[in-house]
C-alpha cells in the first residue's frame, strides 16, 4: 500500500506538485490521470525516492520514503518515464544485473527471471543483446528488470507510451495479473481508454493538484458526463485553456 500525503515539489519558481494526497491500496489498480506536464512523473519520482519532496510524506508499506529510501525502494518496483537499456547487454543480463543489485539469492533470481520471461513472452529475446530491439521488446526487458524481485508495490510511469497494440496488451495483462495476485499497482497515463479499462480508482491531476479522485463511475457521476473523456476535460479545466 502506498500513502501519499500533502506532497509538494518546487523547481525554482515553478510549483510542479502542490499538496497531492492519495492512497493506493493493495489488490487495486490506481491510475494517475492527467495531461502532459500535470506533475504525474514528478509525483511518481518522489514516491520511488528519486527526488526529495518539498513537503508532505510518502509511505510504502510502512516505510517512509524520505527517511528510509532504501527500505521503501526494496518494497517497490518501478518503471520510470524513460527506461533506457544497455545496448551491449542481453535481456537476461539486464534482469540479472538489477536482481543482483537488489541482493536476491541466485535461485530466487533465476525463478523470477523465468517467471517474467514466461509472463511477458520473452523466451526468444532473452539471450540477445538489446541493441536493435523493437519498442515492444525494450518495454518487456524494462518491465522484467524493474519487477525482477516481484515487489508488492508496482509503479509504472506511462508504461504503454509509444507501444504497438500487441505490446500494450501484454502490459495490460501484466497489470491485471498483478492486481489479481493482490499487488498494489499505480500507473500513470494520459490515455482515457486505458485508464477506464484498467483502473479501480482514478486520481486526476492537473497543474500539480489533485482535482478529482474516485472510481471511474464516481467521476462520471461527479461531472455529469457519461463519457470519461468529457469528464476528464471538465475536471482538468483544459477546455477553458483551449478557448
Amino acid at each position: 500500500m502506498i500513502r501519499v500525503e500533502g506532497v509538494r515539489k518546487q523547481f525554482g519558481s515553478v510549483t510542479a506538485v502542490d499538496n497531492v494526497s492519495f492512497t493506493a491500496a493493495d489488490g487495486c489498480v490506481t491510475g494517475l490521470l492527467g495531461p502532459n506536464g500535470a506533475g504525474k512523473t514528478t509525483t511518481l519520482r518522489m514516491i520511488y525516492g528519486l527526488i526529495q519532496p518539498g513537503g508532505g510524506s510518502i509511505d510504502v508499506d510502512g516505510a517512509e520514503v524520505t527517511a528510509d529510501p532504501q527500505t521503501a525502494q526494496s518494497r517497490m518496483g518501478a518503471l520510470p518515464d524513460v527506461a533506457g537499456l544497455y545496448p551491449r547487454l542481453t535481456s537476461r543480463e539486464h534482469i540479472e544485473y538489477f536482481g543482483r543489485l537488489r541482493g536476491m539469492p541466485e535461485t530466487t533470481l533465476q525463478a523470477n527471471l523465468s517467471h517474467w520471461a514466461d509472463t511477458l513472452g520473452m523466451a526468444d529475446i532473452l539471450d540477445r543483446r538489446v541493441a536493435g530491439f523493437s519498442h515492444g521488446e525494450r518495454a518487456r526487458v524494462a518491465i522484467a528488470r524493474a519487477l525482477v524481485h516481484r515487489p508488492r508495490n508496482v509503479l509504472l510511469d506511462e508504461p504503454t507510451n509509444g507501444l504497438d497494440v500487441i505490446a500494450t496488451r501484454a502490459i495490460r495483462d501484466v497489470i491485471r495479473r498483478l492486481r489479481a495476485e493482490g499487488h498494489c499497482v499505480v500507473f500513470s497515463s494520459h490515455i482515457m481508454q486505458e485508464v477506464s479499462a484498467l483502473c479501480d480508482r482514478i486520481v486526476v491531476i492537473a497543474q500539480g493538484r489533485v482535482v478529482a479522485e474516485g472510481a471511474p463511475d464516481e467521476l462520471r457521476a461527479q461531472t455529469g458526463h457519461e463519457n470519461l473523456e468529457d469528464a476528464f476535460v471538465a475536471l482538468t479545466g483544459l477546455e477553458r485553456l483551449d478557448r
Partner: protein, 391 residues
C-alpha cells in the same frame, strides 16, 4: 559498504565496456603510439651517431683540386664519390645529404694564394644530416689551416703568429644526454595511458547512462549512491591499470629494438625496474578515473563528457611541459604532489636511481587522498536530484 553489490556493478561495467570492440581497438592502437615513438626517436639518434663518424662525400669537380680530394679521402671514415650533375637539386630532394662543389678556377686561385672558393651544398632544414655537414666543414677548415701554415712557413713566418686564439672544444652534450628527454617521455606515456584507458568507462557509465536514460532505473534499486559511484570508479580504475600495464610492457619490448651501444649508453630495463616503475605510477589508475568520473557526471551526453576528458588530459601534459620549460624547478619536492610526483619518481627510476621509500609513500598517499576526495564529491553529486532533473 556492501562489497558484493559493488562487485556486481564492476562486473556489469567491465562486461559492457569490453563488448564495445571499437573502443577496445582504438585503446590498443593508442597504447602503441607511445612505445613506437620512443623507439623511433632513440633509433634515429643512434643512427645519426653512427652516420656522423663515417661520411660519404659526393664531390663535383674532383679534377679541379686533386690534392684536396686526396687529402679528404685519407681522413678516417671518409669516402669520396662522384657528385651528382645538379648538386642543389640532389640535396633539395634529399638524394644526398650534402655535396662539395669545386669550381674550375679553384686551381688558379689556389696557386695565386688568394682564397679559393669551394661550395658546400646542404639543407639546414634537414637536422639529420647536420652532423655530417659539420664534420665536412671541420675537415675543410683543417685543410685550409694546414695549407695556410705551410704558406707561412715557406715565407719564413711562424704559423703561431696568426693563431691569436687557441680554441679547445670541450663537448659536454653527448648522445646520452640527447637521449635523456626521450626517456622522460616514458612516464608521460604511461601516465597518459592512465587517463586514456579509463575514458570509455568513466564517460559511458555516467554521462552515457544519463543520455540513454538508464540512470533513473539504476538509481531505483535500493543501493546507496556512494556504492554505485564506487563501482563505476573501480571499473574505470581497472581499465586504467590495465592500460598502464600494457603501455609499460610495450615500452619495455620496444626498447629492445634500440641499439643502445650506438648511443654509448649502458641501458638495462630490468624486470625489477619495470615492476618498481609500475608500482610507482599505478596510484594514477585510481586518481585519473576519479577525476574523470567526477567531471563526466556533470555532462548530460557522452559527447559532452568526452570533451571534458579532452580538457582533463591537459593536466598531465601541462605537468611535463612545465618540466621542459623550467627544468631547474624539477626535483624531489614534487614527490608529494599527485601526477607531478609520479613523473618525478618514474623519471628517477628510469634514470637508474632508486627513490626513497618516503618519497614513494608520499606520492602514493597524496594520490590516494585526492582520488578519495573526488570519489566522495561524485557520490555527493549522485545524491543530488539535479542528476535526474538537471538540464
Amino acid at each position: 559498504m556492501n562489497v558484493r553489490r559493488v562487485a556486481v556493478i564492476v562486473r556489469k561495467e567491465l562486461t559492457d565496456a569490453f563488448r564495445d570492440k571499437r573502443a577496445i581497438y582504438s585503446l590498443l592502437i593508442g597504447s602503441l603510439v607511445g612505445p613506437l615513438l620512443v623507439t623511433f626517436m632513440l633509433r634515429s639518434i643512434a643512427q645519426q651517431q653512427r652516420g656522423a663518424q663515417a661520411i660519404k662525400i659526393p664531390v663535383v669537380g674532383q679534377k679541379n683540386a686533386p690534392l684536396l680530394v686526396d687529402w679528404l679521402g685519407q681522413q678516417g671514415g671518409v669516402e669520396i664519390v662522384d657528385g651528382p650533375a645538379d648538386p642543389e637539386k640532389a640535396v633539395r630532394e634529399r638524394v644526398e645529404d650534402m655535396v662539395l662543389v669545386i669550381p674550375k678556377d679553384f686551381a688558379e686561385d689556389f696557386d695565386r694564394a688568394i682564397p679559393a672558393s669551394v661550395q658546400l651544398v646542404s639543407d639546414t632544414a634537414q637536422t639529420a644530416s647536420q652532423a655530417k655537414v659539420r664534420r665536412l666543414r671541420l675537415l675543410l677548415q683543417r685543410y685550409s689551416a694546414e695549407i695556410g701554415s705551410l704558406r707561412l712557413v715557406v715565407r719564413g713566418v711562424s704559423p703561431s703568429i696568426v693563431n691569436t686564439l687557441s680554441i679547445e672544444d670541450v663537448e659536454v652534450s653527448s648522445a646520452q644526454q640527447r637521449a635523456a628527454p626521450i626517456f622522460n617521455l616514458i612516464p608521460l606515456f604511461v601516465i597518459l595511458a592512465a587517463f586514456t584507458s579509463a575514458i570509455q568507462i568513466a564517460t559511458d557509465s555516467t554521462a552515457g547512462e544519463r543520455e540513454r536514460g538508464s540512470l533513473e532505473s539504476l538509481l531505483l534499486n535500493p543501493v546507496p549512491r556512494m556504492e554505485i559511484v564506487i563501482g563505476k570508479w573501480l571499473s574505470a580504475a581497472i581499465s586504467s591499470a590495465g592500460g598502464m600495464t600494457i603501455t609499460l610492457v610495450l615500452v619495455t619490448l620496444a626498447l629492445l629494438l634500440v641499439p643502445f651501444e650506438d648511443l654509448g649508453i649502458r641501458f638495462t630495463f630490468a624486470p625489477a625496474q619495470m615492476g618498481r616503475l609500475l608500482l610507482t605510477v599505478l596510484p594514477m589508475a585510481l586518481l585519473a578515473p576519479a577525476l574523470q568520473v567526477y567531471l563526466a557526471s556533470f555532462a548530460r551526453t557522452f559527447k559532452e563528457a568526452q570533451q571534458y576528458m579532452g580538457y582533463l588530459i591537459m593536466v598531465p601534459m601541462l605537468g611535463l611541459m612545465g618540466g621542459v620549460v623550467f627544468p631547474r624547478a624539477v626535483g624531489p619536492w614534487m614527490a608529494p604532489i599527485p601526477i607531478l610526483g609520479q613523473f618525478e619518481l618514474a623519471t628517477e627510476i628510469i634514470g637508474g636511481e632508486a627513490p626513497s621509500a618516503l618519497a614513494f609513500g608520499l606520492a602514493a598517499l597524496s594520490t590516494f587522498a585526492l582520488a578519495a576526495l573526488f570519489v566522495w564529491l561524485t557520490g555527493r553529486l549522485f545524491r543530488s536530484e539535479r542528476l535526474i532533473v538537471g538540464r
